[in-house]
Amino acid sequence: MRDHPIPILRVGKTLLVTIQIELRDTVADAFQEDILSEIERMGAPGLVIDISGLDTVDSYVARVLVDTGQMARLMGTEAVLVGMRPEVAATLVRMGFQTRGLRTALNVDEGLALLGELLGRG
């Protein structure tokens, strides 16, 4: 795994990624690639991305997050974005951001529960 400081944890068969740092261009690609490689390595059917630590999500970061979810889906993994703050949700929608089928949950626990249901182990 490369040298970017975004930890990828394992909760049961689900991957849990907590983003706390700024996702700059140079980090974003490595971030996506590490998540996808880890999905393959573990055969993880579920992915939770926690952004409760982010107080700003611009269109670039939003794009990276949505793309990551779509990449995971192409591989056959359900992705859930959790913990988006009120001001971040308001800002993104005001900017005209379209969610395009992104799954969301209030927090990590709810996200894991949602995945449990989706993957038929609720």
Partner: protein, 137 residues
């Protein structure tokens, strides 16, 4: 007219500078007591426009100002670059148009997040964008 109370000039010469400009704006919003929503709005617009100056303009400068008008406090941020300028401005402002792998929401989205936005650009003449967000009373 609005009066400038304080002023910080910051270069945008590397991708990390985008983050520094955004932080400066966030600090100022917090210090002025902006709501979390207003702070996210001006910080996000700053992030979009600083990134544009970097990605499209090849780098430039940002000036972050605390401003005052009729007793109301606000934040003004000015972005300038000497890049190629924007040829088709109305199209760029429409939203959903992008010349790079991106959502094309930077310009149109920023305008929706701030109280005032001014754009000066011409092909070959660089780009200058000024945004202002006032603190709600």
């Amino acid at each position: 007219m609005s009066r400038s109370v304080s002023q910080h000039a910051l270069p945008i010469r590397a991708e990390d500078d985008v983050v520094l400009v955004r932080r400066k704006v966030r600090e100022l919003a917090d210090r002025l007591g902006f709501s979390s929503f207003a702070a996210a709005a001006i910080t996000t617009a700053t992030s979009e426009l600083a990134r544009n100056a970097w990605v499209h303009g090849g780098g430039g400068d940002a000036i972050v100002e605390e401003v005052e008008r009729l007793g109301q406090r606000g934040i003004r941020v000015t972005f300038t670059d000497e890049g190629p300028g924007i040829a088709d401005l109305s199209r760029a402002m429409e939203g959903g148009f992008s010349t790079v792998r991106s959502l094309g929401l930077g310009l149109s989205g920023s305008r929706r997040l701030v109280d005032e936005m001014e754009l000066d650009t011409a092909p070959g003449q660089g780009t200058r964008v000024v945004i202002v967000k006032w603190k709600r009373l």
